[in-house]
C-alpha cells in the first residue's frame, strides 16, 4: 500500500517543483534578493510532502536523541536524582560544582587506566579482528557451488545471534581453569592453563571471542561489494593472462577499497567503544587493572556507586573525543581519495 502511495505523492509534489522553479527563474532578472526569499519559500512548498514525511522521524530524533543530550549538564553538578520525583526538577535543584568532576577525573588513576585499556584493546582489535571478515569474504566469494556457499554463510552468521553470556560460558567450558582443555592437559600430566583469568592476555582473549562471535557477521557488507563486481572484468583479465593473485590484487581489492575505508572510518570513530557487556562480564575475573574500559568505568561509577555527575563527566569526555576521532578519520579518508562517511 504505502509502497504505491509514496512514489505517487512525490510525483504529485514534482509538478509544482517545475512551476516554482519556472517562476523563480522569471523573477530573477528583476530583483535578486526577492528571488532568494521566494525560492526558499517555494523550495519549502515544493518539498513539503517530503518534509512532512520526515517530520515524525525528526521529532523522534529530537525527543529521544537530542533532548537527552541536555542531560549532560549533570556532568557539572553533584547530581542527586532523589531530590524530587522528576529528573528535570532534580537537575534544576542539584548544586553546580563547575569543573570539579572533570578535575577529579583527570587526577584519577583509575580513569587513566580505563583509557589505556580502551586504547590497547582498540588497537589489538583493529589489527587482529578487522582484516578477518575481509579474508572470510574473499574465501566465501571463491566458493562456486551455491549450496556449499549458503551453508558456509549460515554457519558463519549464526554465532552473531548468541548472547555474550552464552559465548563467554562456552569459552569458560572450553578454556576455563577447570574447562575441557585444561583438564585434558592435566590428565596427561601437564599443568592446566590460565586463559580466562590472565590479565596479560586479556585483550587477545576478548578479540578471540569477538572473532568467534562476529567475524562471520562482518562479511555481509564485503560480500555485497564483491557481488557488484562485474564478472566481465575477471573474464577480460583472465583472457589477458592475469592469474588468480593478479585478479585479486587488481580487481577484487580495488572493488572493496571504498567499503574498507568506510568501515575503518566508522571503527575509528567508535574507537573508545570496545564492547561493554562482554567486558563487564569478565572484568572481575582479571581485575579492573586489565578489565576496566571507559564504558565499564562509567557504569561502575554511575550505576554502581551512583556518582552520576562523575560518570556523566567521563561519558561526556568520551563522546567529545569520539566526535573528534570521526572527523579526523573522515578527513584522512578524503585525503586518500575515498568518500568516507559524509562529504561537505
Amino acid at each position: 500500500m504505502s509502497h504505491s502511495t509514496v512514489p505517487r505523492s512525490s510525483a504529485e509534489a514534482g509538478t509544482p517543483v517545475k512551476t516554482a522553479a519556472a517562476s523563480g527563474d522569471a523573477a530573477r532578472p528583476r530583483e535578486k534578493r526577492v528571488t532568494r526569499k521566494l525560492s526558499l519559500r517555494h523550495r519549502f512548498r515544493r518539498d513539503r510532502v517530503l518534509i512532512l514525511m520526515t517530520l515524525p522521524a525528526v521529532v523522534l530524533l529530537l525527543i529521544f536523541n537530542y533532548l537527552p543530550i541536555l542531560g549532560n549538564v549533570v556532568a557539572f553538578q553533584d547530581y542527586d536524582p532523589y531530590i524530587s520525583d522528576n529528573g528535570i526538577v532534580s537537575i534544576l535543584h542539584s548544586p553546580f560544582v563547575g569543573l570539579e568532576n572533570f578535575q577529579r577525573m583527570f587526577d584519577d588513576p583509575d580513569f587513566w587506566n580505563a583509557v589505556e585499556n580502551t586504547l590497547v584493546l582498540f588497537f589489538v582489535q583493529l589489527l587482529l579482528f578487522f582484516p578477518i571478515p575481509v579474508l572470510l569474504a574473499l574465501l566465501i566469494n571463491s566458493v562456486v557451488r551455491p549450496r556449499v556457499r549458503a551453508v558456509a554463510q549460515a554457519v558463519l552468521y549464526l554465532p552473531h545471534f548468541f548472547s555474550w553470556v552464552l559465548v563467554i560460558a562456552v569459552f569458560q567450558q572450553m578454556f576455563g581453569g577447570a574447562g575441557m582443555l585444561s583438564q585434558l592437559l592435566r590428565e596427561n600430566g601437564h599443568d592446566g592453563l590460565n586463559i580466562m583469568t590472565n590479565p596479560d592476555t586479556f585483550p587477545f582473549l576478548l578479540t578471540a571471542q569477538s572473532v568467534w562471535k562476529d567475524a562471520g557477521w562482518g562479511i555481509i557488507v564485503f560480500l555485497a561489494a564483491l557481488a557488484s563486481v562485474s564478472p566481465d572484468l575477471y573474464e577480460a583479465a583472465a583472457m589477458d593472462g592475469a592469474g588468480r593473485w593478479r585478479r585479486m590484487w587488481h580487481i577484487t581489492l580495488p572493488a572493496l577499497r571504498p567499503v574498507i575505508a568506510l568501515l575503518l572510518v566508522l571503527r575509528v570513530g567508535d574507537a573508545l567503544t570496545v564492547g561493554f557487556e562482554q567486558i563487564l562480564l569478565q572484568r572481575d575475573g582479571v581485575g579492573p587493572g586489565a578489565g576496566e574500559v571507559l564504558d565499564t568505568f562509567v557504569w561502575w561509577n554511575g550505576v554502581r556507586n551512583q556518582d552520576f555527575g562523575y560518570a556523566a563527566a567521563a561519558g561526556l569526555v568520551k563522546g567529545v573525543v569520539s566526535i573528534g576521532l570521526v572527523l579526523a578519520a573522515n578527513k584522512v579518508a578524503h585525503l586518500m581519495g575515498e568518500q568516507g562517511v559524509y562529504q561537505k
Binding site: 532523589y82 548544586p95 580466562m196 572481575d284
Partner: protein, 564 residues
C-alpha cells in the same frame, strides 16, 4: 527458618557479605544547598545516627510473643531453634481479626529465582488471609541495586519497597530518607500494640530501622553471630579419613593433601570470608562495623595488621593451586557452584548459614549420598577465634511517603501477618502456603511439592519477619547443629563500636572505600601486590579516611554505642 526463608536469605545474607565493601551505608546529601532546594522542611539530621534517648522516643514498645516455646532458646546472639515435629492441629492464630481494609498495596522486592504469576494460589491465599490486595513487583535480586536507583528516582515509587542494607550504596540512603514515610505515628511506643506480631520484633531490630531520625523500616531481624560458615563435604572427609582443620596452618596443609587436580578435585573455594574471621578482622557486612575504638582511638579494619594477614594467607592459598579454578573468576561469572560441590570438585567453601540446611535439603533429593556439615571457625593460630558481630537486622521494607493513611494501615497489616512467629497459622501460610496445594504433612513434617517450591519463595517473607528463628522439622539434626554453631561462635563474638546503629555517612565519603573489596580480590588472585593495598590505605587516609575517622569519633562521643 524454613526452606523458602532460607532460599530468600541464602541469597541475601550471603550477598550482604559479598557487597560488604561496595555497601556504602550512607551517602546523604549533607550539602545544605540540597536541603534548601527541596524546601528543607524535612528537618532532622540526614547524616549521622539516632540512638539513646532520641531513639527511645520513637522506638516501638516490645511485647514478647509466647506462642510456642523454642526447643533451643536463643543464646549468645543465636537464632532460636525448633527441632520437634510440627503439631498441625495445635497451630495458634496470631491475627484473630483481619487488619486489612481490602485496599491495594504494590510492593517492590528483590527476588532470587523466577517469580510466580500475580494471581497464583499462594498470593491469593495470603491476600485473603491479610485482607489486602497485594500486588508484587518482584525484581531480580542479583541486580536489584541497578533497578532500585532508577525506581526511586522516578515518580512511580511503589507503595512498599524492600531494601536490603547491602543495596544502600551511593545516594540510596538519601533516597530512603526523602521518599519513604515516617512510621512513628503508627508504631512508636504503645501504638504498635495494634500490631501484636510487629510488637514482638526485638528492639535492636527496630533500632536499626531508624533512618534520618525517623522510624522508617519494617525489619527482618537476624541473630548477631556472623553468618558465614565454612561448609564442607562430611561424607568425603569421612571416606578419606580427613580431620577437620583447627588452625590456618593445618587448613593449608590439609588443602595441599586433598587437592588432586588431575582427578578434578581441589580442596576449597575462595576462603577469604573465613580467613577474615580466622584472623579476627573487623567487619560484618556494613562499613560502620569496620570501625572500632581501641585505646581511645577509632581504627578501621583496613588499618589493622589482621586485615593484611588474612589477605596474604588467602593469596597463598590461591598460589598453592588448591582453590578450584572457577573461583579465580569474577563473582558474576562463577555461576552456580552447587553442582560442582555436589560432584566433589571442591570440598570446603564459606557460605551463609542458611545454606547449611538449604543445600543439604536440595542434595537430599538429588544427590542422596552427599552429606554436608559446617566447620567451627578456628583461630588462625589454633586458639579461639575473635569474631565481630553482624547487625541485628539487614533487610527492611519501607512505605511510600505519598501513600494515604489507609494504604499505610494496609501495608502494616501485611507486615503483621508476615511477622507471625513459628507455631502460628500465619507463619505456616507465609512459609509453606496452603496445605494440600503447596505442601503435604507426613509424620509431622511438612514437605513442599513442586507447586509449593515454585510459588512459595521470597515475596511475603521479605516484608518484616519474626525474631530470628531456625525451624526445619524435616532435618532436625541440622536445625540443632546450626543453632548450636551460632551459640558456640557467639561466645567468641564481640560487638564493635557502631554495632546495631543505622548510620548515614556524609555523602562525600560514601565511595571512599568502594574499591577495597576489588583490591582484596586482585591481590588474592595475584593481579596486584600487598604493597598496592598499603598504597591504597595511605590514599584512603589522605583522601578523607582520617576525616571520616573524626566524623565517626564525634558520632560516638555524642551518641554512645548501642552495644553498651
Amino acid at each position: 527458618m524454613t526452606p523458602n526463608a532460607a532460599s530468600a536469605s541464602s541469597g541475601t545474607t550471603r550477598r550482604s557479605f559479598l557487597a560488604s565493601t561496595a555497601v556504602a551505608t550512607a551517602a546523604v546529601a549533607g550539602g545544605m544547598p540540597l536541603l534548601a532546594a527541596c524546601g528543607g522542611s524535612e528537618g532532622g539530621s540526614r547524616e549521622g545516627t539516632t540512638s539513646g534517648k532520641n531513639a527511645k522516643k520513637i522506638l516501638p514498645a516490645y511485647v514478647a510473643s509466647n506462642v510456642v516455646q523454642p526447643d533451643i532458646p536463643s543464646k549468645n546472639g543465636s537464632a532460636m531453634g525448633f527441632t520437634s515435629k510440627l503439631d498441625v492441629a495445635g497451630l495458634k492464630t496470631s491475627v484473630p481479626k483481619k487488619l486489612g481494609k481490602g485496599g491495594k498495596v504494590t510492593i517492590m522486592s528483590p527476588f532470587w529465582g523466577s517469580p510466580p504469576k500475580q494471581g497464583c494460589a499462594y498470593y491469593t491465599a495470603m491476600n485473603d488471609l491479610i485482607g489486602v490486595d497485594v500486588e508484587w513487583r518482584n525484581q531480580d535480586g542479583n541486580t536489584y541495586d541497578q533497578k532500585l536507583g532508577a525506581v526511586l528516582a522516578s515518580s512511580d515509587v511503589p507503595d512498599m519497597v524492600v531494601v536490603p542494607s547491602w543495596n544502600m550504596m551511593g545516594k540510596i540512603p538519601n533516597a530512603i530518607i526523602s521518599k519513604f514515610a515516617d512510621l512513628g505515628p503508627y508504631l512508636s511506643g504503645d501504638k504498635i500494640k495494634e500490631y501484636p506480631n510487629l510488637a514482638a520484633i526485638p528492639s535492636d531490630a527496630w533500632q536499626r530501622s531508624i533512618f534520618g531520625g525517623k522510624l522508617m523500616g519494617l525489619p527482618m531481624p537476624a541473630g548477631y553471630v556472623g553468618n558465614i560458615v565454612p561448609i564442607y563435604r562430611q561424607d568425603i572427609f569421612e571416606k578419606e579419613g580427613y580431620e577437620v582443620p583447627r588452625s590456618s596452618d593445618e587448613f593449608m596443609a590439609w588443602c595441599k593433601d586433598a587437592t588432586n587436580a588431575r582427578a578434578k578435585r581441589w580442596a576449597c573455594g575462595d576462603m577469604k570470608w573465613t580467613a577474615f574471621a580466622n584472623f579476627g578482622v573487623l567487619g560484618g557486612g556494613e562499613k560502620p562495623l569496620w570501625w572500632n575504638l581501641v585505646d581511645g582511638k577509632l581504627i578501621n579494619r583496613i588499618e589493622t595488621p589482621q586485615y593484611l594477614e588474612a589477605i596474604e594467607w588467602t593469596r597463598k592459598l590461591f598460589a598453592a593451586k588448591v582453590v578450584h579454578p572457577n573461583f579465580y573468576l569474577g563473582k558474576g561469572q562463577i555461576g552456580d557452584t552447587a553442582p560442582m560441590f555436589a560432584a566433589g570438585e571442591f570440598l570446603v567453601y564459606p557460605d551463609d548459614i542458611s545454606n547449611w540446611y538449604g543445600r543439604q535439603a536440595s542434595y537430599s533429593t538429588q544427590n542422596p549420598d552427599v552429606k554436608i556439615w559446617g566447620m567451627d571457625i578456628w583461630g588462625h593460630d589454633g586458639g579461639h577465634p575473635t569474631l565481630y558481630a553482624t547487625n541485628p537486622a539487614n533487610i527492611f521494607a519501607f512505605i511510600n511517603k505519598k501513600a494515604s493513611e489507609s494504604v499505610i494501615r494496609d501495608a502494616l497489616a501485611v507486615a503483621n501477618v508476615t511477622a507471625a512467629p513459628y507455631g502460628t497459622k500465619e507463619w505456616m501460610m507465609t512459609q509453606y502456603g496452603v496445605e494440600g496445594t503447596h505442601y503435604t504433612i507426613k509424620d509431622g513434617v511438612p514437605v513442599k511439592n513442586d507447586k509449593g517450591n515454585n510459588e512459595v519463595i521470597n515475596a511475603y517473607v521479605m516484608v518484616a519477619s519474626p525474631a530470628a528463628t531456625i525451624a526445619h522439622p524435616d532435618l532436625p539434626d541440622y536445625t540443632r547443629a546450626m543453632v548450636e554453631w551460632q551459640q558456640r561462635m557467639g561466645a567468641f563474638t564481640k560487638k564493635s563500636s557502631f554495632w546495631g546503629l543505622q548510620i548515614t555517612e556524609p555523602s562525600r565519603y560514601t565511595n571512599l572505600a568502594t574499591n577495597f573489596e576489588q583490591l582484596e580480590d586482585d591481590i588474592i588472585r595475584g593481579h596486584k601486590k600487598i604493597s598496592d593495598m598499603q598504597q591504597a590505605i595511605a590514599d584512603w587516609k589522605s583522601k578523607g579516611g582520617d576525616k571520616l575517622r573524626d566524623w565517626y569519633k564525634k558520632l560516638l562521643d555524642e551518641n554512645g554505642s548501642a552495644a553498651g
